[in-house]
């Protein structure tokens, strides 16, 4: 596939530019020469069979792979022109700009309020209690959770239902005002109704944020995303407008995956 087809977005629209990214776990290479652009105020979904490297790729973008021993990332990832993989970049500040939502809802064992306020507090984003209250409220509103929890803000976040917990995690990520939100299969632990709520929420959030979502469900990718990238065995096989990927894939591996021949 020619390079031109991969970067089929106007440069002004690209929020994140990924070039020649290779990832190694010790001796084993997990990702091969990934080139990808993430559009501003768009949802980009990453699909592919298990173990194809889509989660690994996602975790490169906010350097969450730093936590893993023996993991090495090469290449270039630029968020708004700033190099992410540069050794001089502070992962702490980077992760403020590139937030993340995980597969399993992981609220801290604190109150709902403190869960959301945690990020703003450590980063010193607000100076007064009133500002913090307001920020918590807007974040919860943005995560479409405010109405459900406004009367019990000081009860533990772990007491919420699975879907509510996941939306709490989204509110928590939103509260530090990131530019990009990474979502690692955010609905895989949720029931269909909760999934629908989160998908609606993603639709809302993309107005303000650039979102990258890893998903196992092709229907979900089709529903929420504008662009879709298909990964296979550590290689980015094909990327394009979602509709095109699902209706007229260029690569036969993509074809095979979306028609259910493997994966």
């Amino acid at each position: 596939m020619a390079d031109g087809e991969r970067f089929n977005m106007e440069a002004a629209e690209a929020k994140v530019l990924v070039r020649d990214v290779n990832v190694f776990y010790g001796e084993k290479q997990a990702l091969f020469d990934i080139d990808l652009d993430i559009g501003r105020n768009q949802v980009t979904s990453l699909i592919g069979p298990s173990g194809c490297g889509k989660s690994t790729f996602l975790r490169c973008m906010n350097r969450m792979n730093d936590v893993i021993d023996g993991c090495r990332v090469e290449g270039s990832i630029k968020v708004d022109g700033d190099e992410v993989l540069d050794a001089g970049i502070d992962p702490v500040q980077l992760r403020r700009r590139v937030g993340m939502v995980f597969q399993k809802p992981n609220p801290f064992p604190k109150s709902i309020y403190d869960n959301v306020a945690y990020g703003p507090r450590i980063h010193g984003l607000v100076s007064s209690q009133d500002d913090l209250d307001e920020l918590v409220q807007t974040s919860l509103e943005r995560a479409a959770l405010w109405e459900e929890v406004k009367d019990r803000l000081h009860q533990p976040g772990t007491g919420l239902s699975g879907g509510q917990q996941q939306r709490l995690c989204i509110a928590r990520a939103v509260a530090v005002r990131p530019d990009v939100i990474l979502m690692d299969e955010p609905c895989s632990a949720l029931d269909p109704i909760a999934t629908a709520r989160v998908e609606e929420l993603i639709e809302e959030l993309k107005k303000a944020y650039s979102i990258v979502i890893v998903t196992h469900s092709m229907q979900q990718a089709a529903r929420v995303s504008q662009r879709t990238a298909f990964f296979h065995l550590g290689v980015l096989v094909e990327v394009g407008v979602t509709e095109q990927i699902f209706t007229a894939p260029r690569d036969e591996r993509t074809q095979g995956y979306i028609t259910g021949r493997f994966g």
């Binding site: 708004d80 010193g124 005002r177 530019d179 107005k207 303000a208």
Partner: protein
């Protein structure tokens, strides 16, 4: 607040773009502060570990530095005349060897007079010197009637002086060794009548009131007998109990109760086991005081929870597929356990047992309760003889006022730690060599 506005005012973005407005400076200062607190926190962790480990080094270092001198002893050469007229050749043990030693000392220093001075002179050598002299005659009766140069142990004060623990420059009244004694010692030294040798007494004999004659062997043997009883009781009982609880017991309230009980028993203070031993085994059953038998029983009750818990863990680690395979070919449940599960779990069980035994070896408090603190000179010959054990012997020596017992105590601790290291090394080797990962 619009979304775009939010992003444009985001501090991090501003920093990344290198803008130098006030907010960015604040932000940068804040990040620096956060990293400083991060570094501080990490330093606390390192400091805690360094403190803990340096305490270990200090502990071991202080023991070794005070104890190594107990492994050698100074001896004094005396020309002893074994008067033929006073020794019965058929029964040489009955003679007054103390008299020979005293006269040898007197002839060595002929100008000493006065009872007080003479007593001081006799105090140069150990109280056990006569026994050493007797041994010479018993070994070689031809020496009767002759004058022989023999090396006898110096007394503990002289030994301490020669080892440099007594400061010669102190004023005489503050010093345990007086000026006349110093003169004698210097004269003996210049005559070549003083030497040091390895302390074999320490490894060969039982306790004594005289530091230079006190040995650790009695305590080692006592510990051996005690551990023998402990092992003989706690190993079979512990393993059988573990097998029952892990493989056979139904899951009901009774077995839950047994389990809670075992866990709590593991945390009962050891001295309480001593009270149990005193009240039940000594006063109720009338078993002998100070005996390894009772000590062993008490320690085995203490070790039992350790062995049961370790054995259960080892049994649990054997995968169920092996049990199913054996059951599948028609083995009974007991056969499955004895033929398959138990042999596979044995290394783990043995490791746990050795660790339990090491704990029992270092245990002191419960043995104090059942009278193993008595002053016992003889090396015990069986599990009902009165005896003491290594840690209790250490406690007894640590309580003695004589300066020379400090070194003995440290030496005893080194011996005890040596045994513990051996046992733990054995456990580690066993685990490394035989333990399987499934």
């Amino acid at each position: 607040m619009t979304d775009r506005g939010l992003q444009q005012h985001s501090g991090a973005e501003a920093v990344m773009h290198g803008s130098a407005d006030k907010r960015a400076n604040e932000e940068a200062a804040r990040v620096r502060r956060r990293y400083r607190s991060e570094a501080r926190f990490k330093a606390y962790g390192i400091a805690a570990i360094v403190v803990a480990i340096s305490m270990l080094i200090l502990l071991v270092g202080s023991i070794i530095s005070t104890g190594w001198s107990a492994f050698y002893q100074y001896e004094i050469a005396l020309d002893v005349t074994f008067e033929g007229s006073e020794i019965d050749a058929n029964n040489p043990r009955t003679a007054n060897y103390n008299g020979f030693i005293k006269s040898a000392l007197r002839s060595q220093f002929p100008d000493v007079s006065g009872r007080k001075e003479k007593r001081k002179l006799y105090g140069l050598v150990s109280n056990g010197a006569d026994l050493q002299a007797m041994q010479v005659v018993v070994d070689e009766p031809v020496k009767i009637g002759k004058t022989v140069r023999i090396w006898v142990l110096a007394s503990d004060d002289i030994d301490s002086l020669l080892k440099g623990y007594i400061d010669r420059d102190l004023p005489e009244e503050d010093r345990r060794v007086k000026d006349t004694e110093l003169e004698w010692i210097d004269q003996l030294k210049s005559d070549g009548r003083i030497r040091w040798s390895m302390n074999t007494v320490f490894w060969k004999s039982g306790d004594s009131r005289e530091p230079e004659l006190a040995g650790f062997w009695g305590a080692i043997v006592g510990s051996f007998f005690t551990l023998l009883v402990t092992l003989a009781l706690s190993f079979p009982v512990g393993v059988l109990a573990a097998i029952y609880l892990e493989e056979f017991a139904p899951k009901n309230r009774w077995t839950d109760f047994v389990e809670v009980n075992i866990n709590n028993l593991a945390a009962v203070p050891s001295i309480v086991f001593g009270l149990l031993g005193l009240a039940v085994f000594l006063n109720f059953f009338g078993l002998p005081r100070s005996a390894p038998l009772v000590g062993g029983i008490v320690l085995s009750l203490m070790t039992l929870p350790t062995i049961i818990i370790a054995s259960r863990a080892a049994l649990k680690a054997v995968p169920p597929s092996i049990r199913e395979a054996a059951l599948g070919v028609g083995a009974s449940k007991h056969q499955v356990v004895t033929h398959h599960v138990l042999p596979l779990a044995m290394p783990g069980i043995l490791t746990g047992t050795i660790i339990g035994m090491a704990q029992a070896l270092g245990e002191t408090a419960p043995l104090l309760m059942i009278g193993m603190v008595a002053f016992i000179v003889n090396v015990p010959g069986g599990i009902t003889d009165p005896s003491t054990v290594m840690p209790v012997q250490i406690y007894l020596w640590a309580d003695s006022p004589e300066r020379a017992f400090v070194a003995r105590t440290s030496a005893g601790i080194m011996a005890l730690l040596g045994f513990l290291v051996l046992m733990n090394a054995l456990a580690v080797i066993l685990r490394k060599r035989f333990e399987r990962r499934w």
